[in-house]
Symmetry: C2
Subunit: 224 residues, 2 copies
């Protein structure tokens, strides 16, 4: 097993999380680090998608990963083993989301200097993580086919907040009543600026397009 | 479309939610109403499972349903149309969970007197709803096959709290790497008292056993 640190996060002490997030975002930008906050329901395939994506990106970029969970140790080890990337496990101590102060604690333990891109895998939850700015330069989410094409209607905030919606498990499309075009419309109704990329992280479909999305973000200096 | 009330809930004003939940539980018991709090991830099939279950129960029991969502109106209408049961839609106004005071507001709008059993479909979220006692006599959860057999390890509290875990979408078992026996062990490790019933609400598999579980609860006077 790879050696992976596990960090028990302290609850944020800053009353103004938005200001703290903005400060962190500026500091990271100065250091040339692009931080991506990844949100999804439990079981949408965050870790599998990240492993597949990182294995494509790592030849061109220095990648780091922070895996947040309420209380679990396996994901960061799995990412480290399967990608060889710098990885830490964050325990939220039961908290349902991450804020900017918790993200900063994770980044300090990870050691982010010299990295081009850091993925923060948030707690599996479509509600609370959307309410807290982590300091990321880009919020993205993963919706999986078995969850249904109506989820943008039921959890509007997370869809409004995300610049990229990955629709995962497209290999399962034949077995579920999921209308891709309807889902895309539901997403764009909530957030006309969202990019939508369908993938099967398991089978590899769509992963080249997803890789290119991130390469463009970094090379095009599209950092916000 | 059926006429279904939509209620915007006010945040609980009681500092001691546990005491308020206990009070509600006692009052409902006195009125002969059995309240069931249904939790799951987004897209696990709560509404589809409830519709299938209620259509089996309604010939023997008077059933009511409360559908909680952050901001969405379709589920309660769907339940009312497909079952003919008393149904209300609860809007949590962005809140990630229900507490006992919010549950009481819903019950009052539903009009619960004369009902034998009321299902409360909680917000789709495996984290926060598990932390708040709604006043229900039984907490249950629905885990779906595409979410993975490791979820009891990642979200232990909700599994510890539930007297029944329904494993839904068993029709999708051939397409996912889901080990039913491993999942059952993961659940029972967290909660040795949990009943585990695999079903396909879409296809009907396991629904007779699920129906019998609730009939036994009501007839056996197993109300706690």
């Amino acid at each position: 097993m790879e050696k992976v640190k596990t960090i028990l996060l302290n609850k944020g002490v800053y009353s103004d999380n938005d200001a703290e997030a903005e400060k962190l975002r500026r500091e990271l930008k100065k250091d040339g680090v692009f931080l991506i906050n990844v949100m999804s329901s439990p079981g949408a395939g965050k870790t599998t998608t990240l492993i597949s994506l990182i294995n494509r990106l790592k030849t061109r970029l220095n990648v780091g990963v922070m895996e947040a969970d309420i209380d679990y140790d396996i994901d960061a080890v799995r990412v480290a083993e399967k990608t060889g990337c710098k990885s830490v496990q964050l325990h939220t101590g039961g908290m349902c989301h991450l804020d900017a102060s918790m993200t900063r604690q994770g980044l300090e333990e990870l050691g982010y200097k010299g990295l081009d891109i850091v993925f923060l895998e948030n707690v599996g939850n479509l509600v609370c993580p959307a309410e807290f700015d982590t300091g990321a330069h880009l919020d993205i989410m993963i919706l999986s086919v078995p969850e249904g094409d109506d989820k943008p209607l039921k959890y509007p905030l997370v869809f409004r907040k995300c610049g990229l919606v990955i629709i995962n498990k497209t290999d399962a499309l034949p077995y579920f009543d999921f209308d891709m075009e309807k889902c895309r419309r539901n997403i764009l109704d909530r957030n006309p600026q969202a990019e939508v990329i369908p993938v099967s992280a398991k089978r590899g479909d769509g992963m080249a397009e997803l890789e290119q999305f991130f390469i463009n973000k970094i090379n095009g200096k599209e950092k916000t």
